[in-house]
């Protein structure tokens, strides 16, 4: 069985590094694909642009989506994922600094699977990542096809 992929959509290099470190700390060794803006993320998922020709049958087991992105923002990326036949069932977790209620509500309205706020404290952050990984990569039964 092929290793489950984690897709991280995040533009802040510090956050990318900290997330990578948190995953390591939690001993989650799955392949981590990082898309640094919305367009790149959509290219990867739809097999277009930079990722043209990618086998799109292979979908990430979990997509971690930051809301604040340059260009196409996080909620728009989510809307497009849900609008596309191939990705509409893709497990997406919003992982963001914002805990604005409006953002949370809009996220759920667009069909996000979870909404996690990034704690400032790294230990809390690492713990969140560990639990995320455990839940989505191990416990959760992903959609087929």
């Amino acid at each position: 069985m092929k290793q489950k992929i984690i897709l991280l959509i995040e533009d802040n290099p510090s956050d990318i590094e900290l997330t990578r470190r948190a995953l390591n700390k939690a001993h989650i060794m799955n392949e981590l694909i990082v898309a640094e803006d919305g367009q790149e993320a959509l290219d990867y998922l739809m097999g277009t642009g930079k990722y043209a020709g990618r086998d799109t049958r292979e979908m990430p087991a979990i997509t971690l989506l930051d809301l604040k992105l340059p260009g196409i923002d996080g909620l728009e990326v989510l809307r497009r994922i849900r609008a596309d036949e191939r990705t509409r069932r893709l497990p997406v977790v919003i992982l963001t600094s914002s805990n604005e209620e409006s953002d949370i509500a809009r996220g759920y309205d667009l069909g996000v699977n979870s909404y996690i706020r990034k704690p400032v404290d790294f230990r809390q952050f690492a713990e969140s990542i560990q639990q995320l990984g455990l839940y989505w990569l191990v416990l959760n039964e992903p959609p087929t096809g």
Binding site: N12, L18, K68, S97, S98, S102, D103, V120, D121, F122
Partner: protein, 667 residues
């Protein structure tokens, strides 16, 4: 001679029949006819007796015959008196008749003399007829005289004939005393008498005929006059009805005046019309409408007339005070005597009528009509003019009411328009303000969102990499280095908390207010539970209000208020060996508002330095003494303000602090 007498009799009987027929037909209609009939009967009887001379005793034939004939003549004259409605002299008639009989008797039986008898008889007869002529020619009413024209003629002829008979008898005295043996001249005379008798009868018939004709004409004229009067009355009534109808349709005083003017001019001669309105409070008649010779005159040119109700003498004054029409004659002369200036041959009106316009017992005003004709307005005119005047008064009253109603409606409409305009302005302002607020809120929201994201991200990086250093490079750092790292981490944590609190404050400002009726004690209990949990080691004595205390507000926000105030109380009572916190609720009698209070026996503060206590990040104590970031009270104040309430504080150093607040009325 007897034959002549008999033919005379036949003629007389025919005449009697004619008179009787006349009497039968017209006895009810004309006076004197019965007397005519009686007269003719007597004359006929007299003639009959004379004709029967020698067949009946002379006494009957001569005396009674002549007496009956004479009486018949006298009765004829009496009948004429009755017919012409003149007084009859009965006593004299009887006396004269008796005298006649005595004299006649004397010359017939005591000293018989036919000549004297005939002359005496003729003279007496002449006297009677002369009386008839006198009656018709002088005594009857002038208009009746033509009726008696024929009778007069006949009587005149009788007089002539009698004169002739007297002359004949004087010249040729009767040859014998034998009545029937008289001469030719006498026979001619008797025949003439017979003819005149017929003429008399004919004249009487003509007279009666004329009288009947006149009566019929008069009655016809009366009937025509009556019918004309009725038609005029009907026309008047119709016009009055139309006037009432037109007045009811009129909407303004001006319309009413012109309707009244047109209608009055149709009904009666009134070249000058004036309508004055009466103000009962000032007893003033103010001209409102003047039309002279069909030309409108500005009523303001005529001065108002003040009526003294106690001693009104003028026509107008009397009309107003008595509420009855007053007619004034001879106006032209009065005007000249009163000093009216007359230009050239200008005529002056000579008749006037002042008609009070009375509505429900109140005098509304006066309608004045003037005519150039003398003594023109009659009491009959006044009767229907009074009706017209009252109708006009009613019209005026209605028009005034209508005008008042319209004014009120207009005022209402204006004020409604004003209200609507104000409302529209207000709504526009509310819309503007709402839009402004929404824009501000939106800005605040995006700001909060930015803070939430962008301030946290670098903070997280700092904290994260500090942690990476602390865990991955611990062995390579000395104690001092590790201490610095800890300081970085602690400050990152503190900043994170600050951001969190700031966002809370902004959320408090943006969140929609959800007011409910709540129990203050229950809210306080929930807040207390939270605060006690946050300070597990502390023992604080709390006093809650005994009575149930209602409060209206947003439950979540009010809990934030109480939690913050209690948190402060806990914090600042920390140095006290026995900390005490009071939660109070009372009704302020002056404002009728509920005042809530959270009071403690903590360290308190100097009120002179408390000016900016409720501004964000303002603190009266160092963080080292009492931790905190100065957002709490700012948040509390914001929530109270959003409820439309007030918050204030009373405190002194070491005396504790008391936070009071009110919550505005629910909208």
């Amino acid at each position: 001679m007897r034959t002549i007498i008999i033919s005379y009799m036949i003629t007389a009987s025919i005449c009697l029949a004619v008179i009787l027929a006349l009497w039968l037909q017209n006895r009810r209609r004309l006076a004197g006819l019965s007397m005519f009939a009686v007269s003719y009967i007597f004359q006929f009887g007299g003639l009959l007796l004379m004709a029967l001379r020698d067949l009946v005793p002379d006494f009957l034939s001569i005396l009674l015959g002549n007496a009956a004939l004479m009486l018949g003549n006298i009765l004829l004259i009496i009948a004429l008196h009755l017919f012409f409605d003149r007084p009859v002299w009965k006593g004299h008639t009887v006396a004269v008749s008796i005298l006649f009989l005595v004299i006649f008797y004397y010359f017939t039986f005591i000293s018989p003399n036919l000549q004297i008898r005939i002359i005496f008889f003729s003279l007496f007869q002449a006297a009677v007829f002369a009386m008839g002529i006198w009656l018709i020619a002088r005594q009857t009413a002038p208009q009746d005289r033509p009726e008696g024209r024929d009778v007069l003629l006949v009587l005149g002829m009788q007089l002539l004939l009698i004169g002739a008979r007297v002359v004949v008898n004087l010249v040729f005295p009767p040859a014998s005393q034998q009545f029937f043996a008289s001469g030719t001249a006498d026979s001619v005379l008797i025949l003439s008498t017979e003819m005149l008798f017929i003429a008399t009868t004919f004249a009487l018939v003509m007279m009666v005929n004329r009288r009947l004709h006149r009566q019929m004409e008069a009655s016809l004229a009366t009937r025509i006059e009556a019918e004309n009067g009725l038609a005029q009355k009907n026309l008047l009534q119709e016009r009055l009805g139309r006037l009432g109808h037109d007045l009811a349709a009129a909407r303004s005083l001006e319309e009413i005046f012109s309707v009244a003017e047109g209608s009055l001019r149709e009904m009666i001669d009134c070249p000058n019309i004036a309508i004055t309105l009466f103000d009962s409070q000032t007893a003033t008649l103010a001209p409102a409408f003047i039309s002279a010779d069909g030309e409108r005159i500005d009523p303001n040119l005529a001065p108002p007339l003040v009526i003294d109700p106690a001693s009104a003498v003028s026509g107008r004054g009397l009309a107003v005070t008595s509420q009855r029409a007053v007619v004034q004659h001879d106006l032209a002369r009065l005007s000249r005597e009163g000093g009216a200036v007359v230009l050239g041959d200008q005529r002056l009106p000579d008749s006037a009528v002042y008609l009070p316009m009375v509505v429900e017992g109140e005098t509304v005003g006066l309608l004045e009509l003037q005519s150039y004709r003398s003594a023109y307005y009659t009491p009959q005119d006044c009767e229907w003019l009074a009706v017209a005047a009252n109708q006009i008064g009613l019209g005026i009253q209605n028009a005034r009411l209508l005008a008042r109603l319209q004014r009120t409606v207009e005022e209402l409409r204006q004020s409604q328009g004003e209200v609507e305009r104000l409302n529209a302005t207000l709504e526009q302002r509310v819309r503007d303000r709402t839009a402004e607020l929404q824009a501000a809120n939106k800005e605040l929201e995006s700001f909060a969102s930015a803070v939430s994201h962008d301030l946290r991200a670098p903070l997280r990086a700092m904290a994260g990499f500090a942690d990476a250093l602390a865990s991955d490079y611990r062995e390579r750092m000395d104690e001092q280095g590790l201490h610095y790292l800890e300081r970085i981490q602690a400050n990152a944590e503190r900043m994170s908390q600050l951001i969190e609190d700031l966002l809370k404050l902004s959320r408090v400002s943006r969140q929609e207010l959800n007011r409910q009726d709540l129990d203050f004690c229950r809210l306080a209990a929930e807040a207390l539970e939270e605060v006690r949990a946050a300070y597990p080691g502390r023992d604080v004595q709390v006093s809650l209000p005994i009575k149930h205390c209602a409060v209206n507000g947003d439950p979540l926000l009010l809990k934030v208020v109480l939690t913050n105030l209690l948190d402060n109380a806990w914090k600042y009572t920390a140095p006290r060996p026995q900390a005490h916190v009071w939660l109070e609720c009372r009704l302020d009698k002056k404002s009728g508002q509920r005042v809530f209070c959270v009071r403690d026996n903590g360290v308190g503060f100097d009120m002179s330095k408390a000016g900016n206590l409720f501004a964000p990040f303002q603190r009266l104590h160092s963080t080292r003494e009492f931790p905190g970031n100065g957002i709490g009270l700012a948040t509390v104040q914001r929530i109270i303000q959003r409820h439309g309430g007030n918050i204030w504080v009373e405190a002194a150093v070491d005396q504790g602090a008391a936070f009071y607040f009110t919550l505005g009325e629910s909208r």
